[in-house]
Symmetry: C3
Subunit: 428 residues, 3 copies
């Protein structure tokens, strides 16, 4: 799978708040840089998979995009029975619906907030799964190392010993019926764990400080710019649970996916984040924050093919000489994410300026994205995608480079993002 992308920003800010530094380019009135137009390789994944003795599958997917290489998938399946299969290694935990759709089959250039911001991406562990009741109900339960929201686990040691439990049920009760409901599927999934983030990120006795080891995520816009980041004193300190109802529907050329996800995350503040000093949890600083997101996405194939959860095989391949034009599809999506408003306030004093879990003059309280696009399937292997995406924010920008005041009255909305995302894809 090879995806060559181009991102062009009509409006929108770089992923970093940079109110006092001046790097490349100039700052706007609120202390942000313009987002940079860029060509990039989004996915370079030469997958190796196979089956041994009819029952044991393996799948290895390396990822070479992004400047280094790593293992995206590396797992073993033992298909002992259709109703009882075991998967061990690194894989997509059975949680999010859009996540379980392959990276070459997704209808938009980037997935929604439900998938990218809240639910796990890849994790390491073991799952048992299968299809029961005449394949009308799929179940999966797993025990994994656990990852932050939207996270992709490394294949190495975990720094926290607690495991994350996942569970999912997905029903397609009318799949054998020849009526308008046969393409309906719905389900619910969730995760649960305890997670204590690293308390002292300047841990000079061992390896370099790793900002991801506080156990907390950052969130990206549809244009892949960071719009939310926890403060440097914040650390995961307790329970993390997620729940996500989900549904899909396919009827002729029409496809629809909708999902909702909520994460409850226990967060505390550290007394000390400076270099190489001991750091403890500040007294009375613990709080359970609840963030949620949802999406509705619709697709319609103009050239007569049937929509499905998988990719599209055009009826006529694109061929200038013979006159075929491939398959054409229109897509539209609304997706939003809402942060807990307590994230930006001091738990005890209500101040916006000190003792907050995140800084409202740098991180937005919500992001709402409209995305419209067209997919051109030249043949079953080659695809061209074009998305236009508009994202508006609630908060996230201060006035100039002055700090946020205690009452939070000098906060503006972050500049809306208007991005054109293009992709050339070959699946091999």
């Amino acid at each position: 799978l090879l995806q060559a992308d181009y991102r062009s920003y009509q409006d929108g800010a770089n992923d970093v708040r940079n109110r006092t530094n001046t790097r490349a380019g100039s700052l706007d009135a609120n202390g942000f840089h313009d987002a940079n137009d860029t060509a990039l390789l989004r996915r370079i994944r030469p997958t190796i998979q196979g089956t041994l003795f009819g029952k044991y599958d393996f799948r290895f997917t390396p990822e070479f995009a992004g400047g280094s290489a790593s293992a995206v998938d590396a797992y073993i399946d033992a298909r002992l029975d259709p109703a009882f299969k075991i998967r061990a290694g690194k894989y997509k935990p059975f949680v999010g619906l859009e996540r379980l759709q392959g990276g070459s089959d997704i209808k938009f250039v980037e997935r929604s907030y439900v998938t990218n911001a809240i639910l796990p991406n890849r994790d390491v562990g073991v799952s048992v799964y299968g299809d029961v009741f005449g394949d009308k109900l799929s179940y999966a339960v797993g025990v994994n190392n656990g990852v932050v929201d939207g996270g992709n686990a490394t294949t190495g040691n975990e720094f926290d010993g607690s495991k994350e439990v996942t569970a999912r049920l997905f029903a397609t009760p009318f799949k054998d019926d020849a009526n308008a409901l046969s393409g309906l599927g719905f389900g619910i999934a969730g995760t649960y764990t305890n997670i204590d983030g690293e308390r002292n990120l300047d841990f000079t006795n061992t390896s370099a400080a790793d900002a991801t080891r506080n156990g907390l995520p950052s969130y990206l816009t549809d244009g892949q710019q960071t719009f939310f980041r926890y403060g440097s004193a914040s650390v995961a300190d307790g329970k993390r649970s997620r729940i996500t109802p989900q549904a899909s529907y396919y009827y002729g050329p029409l496809g629809l996916i909708t999902e909702y996800a909520r994460v409850n995350q226990d967060v505390s503040l550290l007394t000390n984040t400076t270099s190489n000093a001991p750091s403890v949890i500040a007294a009375n600083s613990s709080k359970t924050l609840s963030h949620d997101a949802w999406q509705v996405a619709v697709s319609y194939l103009l050239t007569g093919e049937d929509a499905s959860f998988r990719g599209v095989k055009p009826k006529n391949n694109f061929d200038i000489d013979k006159g075929g034009w491939g398959a054409w599809e229109l897509v539209a999506r609304y997706s939003e994410i809402n942060l807990d408003s307590d994230t930006f306030k001091n738990k005890n004093t209500g101040s916006f300026s000190t003792g907050t879990y995140a800084n409202l003059s740098e991180s937005a309280k919500s992001a709402k994205s409209w995305t419209a696009g067209v997919n051109w399937y030249l043949n079953q292997n080659a695809k061209v995608q074009l998305n236009y995406s508009h994202t508006s924010f609630d908060g996230g920008a201060g006035i100039g480079i002055t700090a946020v005041n205690a009452a939070g009255t000098n906060i503006r909305d972050r500049q809306s993002e208007n991005a054109l995302l293009a992709r050339f894809q070959v699946a091999f």
Copy 2:
């Protein structure tokens, strides 16, 4: 080759002494963290190999486990004659017996102290090797960049210009006889080099400081936790030599490997290890330290297959429907490593608290491991391994977080490690 592991610690400390910092989790009375249970991918190695024109072999083995990717093996063989072959590139130097056994064929989840702690893992260079006297004697001599104990060289430039010479002889004198000695092999191998570690690890004029460039190793337990680390002022400064007698024996279902290894390493102390300042070798601080390790490992196939240095092909593959149960093997090993006691003392004053090469309140003087396990070969490609490992230490823990005193009287033994190591493996 894909290995999905799970490590569970009944007892045992994290690899880092952390007497004054508080990171995730709480510290025990001696200032250690509990080791973290974790799922991980141990090896993800899609090997590519081939033969050109009947005589020129190449082998490339990438490693995707552990969060990034690198080349484990990348070499060219010219088999000019069975008695004269040339290997160039990155490969296993012909030194340790258990090391030369493939990562998919080893009888335990992790190799012994002889292999992992003392002898080289992978290096870059050229070797000449072959079989003589009717294939009853194998020889190998090589010139490599040189690696620290247990080290896996990068494929790039070496920072030290001196080369490491390796040599090995291994005899199987009775291999053509049809008696109880036909499966006996024994030999001896060694390495020799001069190595000057980097003297100033805060080398800001070029690249980031690299703690491995002092030319000295760390040592891991059977449960893969670091139990020995040189002090930050220590630096390799002179000769390094290793010698390792070794033997294996296979008779019907029984297999046995035993090895001994000793390393003599010249170590000095630096006057200054703080940031960005010049640093020189402290006067009268040089010392040759001798560490050694040995192992005896026994395996027994319960299901009637013949044991060998290579993997096991079951007589009956595992198949629930047809009733096959694969091959089952019991394994047991004792392995220990003993550090030179001068490592923990000031060469001139005998103090344990200042001017030592390593800190006895953080690093243990010895580690002794009993490992027992069972291997289940489902078929020739799939394997499940379960090991239970008990490791006891001599020294390595202070009392609370107070520093070690000059007489070394406030030192306890590091808490024993009891670990359950499980593996699902598919070789493809």
Copy 3:
């Protein structure tokens, strides 16, 4: 493609000037280290490529040499017509002649200064290219992210939004004639962009400082030691353009390549390069610097094969038993690079000691290399190369470790480099 190299330096300095630090080894009178002899893997590139539906090609080349892995090539070709092809992804921009020759086909162990020091290596973007006038003229135009001189772009986001335009024309007007001119090709290429380097490299709000993000290159000798480096206050700040006339000629066993390249780079100085503080362009510090390089390389096949831009297929493969000796080729090259003399002077005062773009006591003003070698093609897949390279410098070394004085009178020439470069190569 697997290349196992050995580099041995009779004379020559390590890539780092280290006048006040003492690391491994001892310093010479001018404060340099001797270059380290080393074995290394130069290229480990298991390429995957293919064609879909006769018109859509993909190529993916990972690189595992050098300690990590990354994507060297990852692109999609749409060959809509011989005169109109589109390439998208990461690829060699159509600029340098020797660069477009494959890494397995180059006649020397390392490419010339024109290719390695001035022209782009790999970039991410889109190009349109094709052959017109009976395939006698090739054209290519591209829009890429842009890379520094000799640079290899990552596949990820670019930090600067401006795109680099490339264009190339290459003519082979006599290719269908059966005369001495049929093997002649000549052309011209260039690049143009605006590039603002990062102004504050200690950008602690996001990720680690990245010294390559000042938008400026370093230059290497033929022996791959850095001999030129911009000062830490220098930053790219404006236009960058390159132009390169180029020609090749093949006649029977004789091959010849010659190229010239000039880069014009706008450079400014920063007021502040210390940790974590804002930094702005110093007033009146901007300057357009012009560096250039050229090369002439000749090859001659002794064993009767025809020379070409591609690799060599021996008439008789090497085989001791049957008496074949493969193909043998002699090669020689002269290549030099000349830095703008304003690089080492204060623009306003003419001083050599302060306000310069690079330090003449650490970086040389020019490098001139003679390289002679022999290539032994054992068969079409296996090759052995041996190069001897002599490089002399103009400036680049101070006297002892004292700083350069304002008049620049205490500058010596950097010690000449004499290097033996050997390679074993298998292409698979």
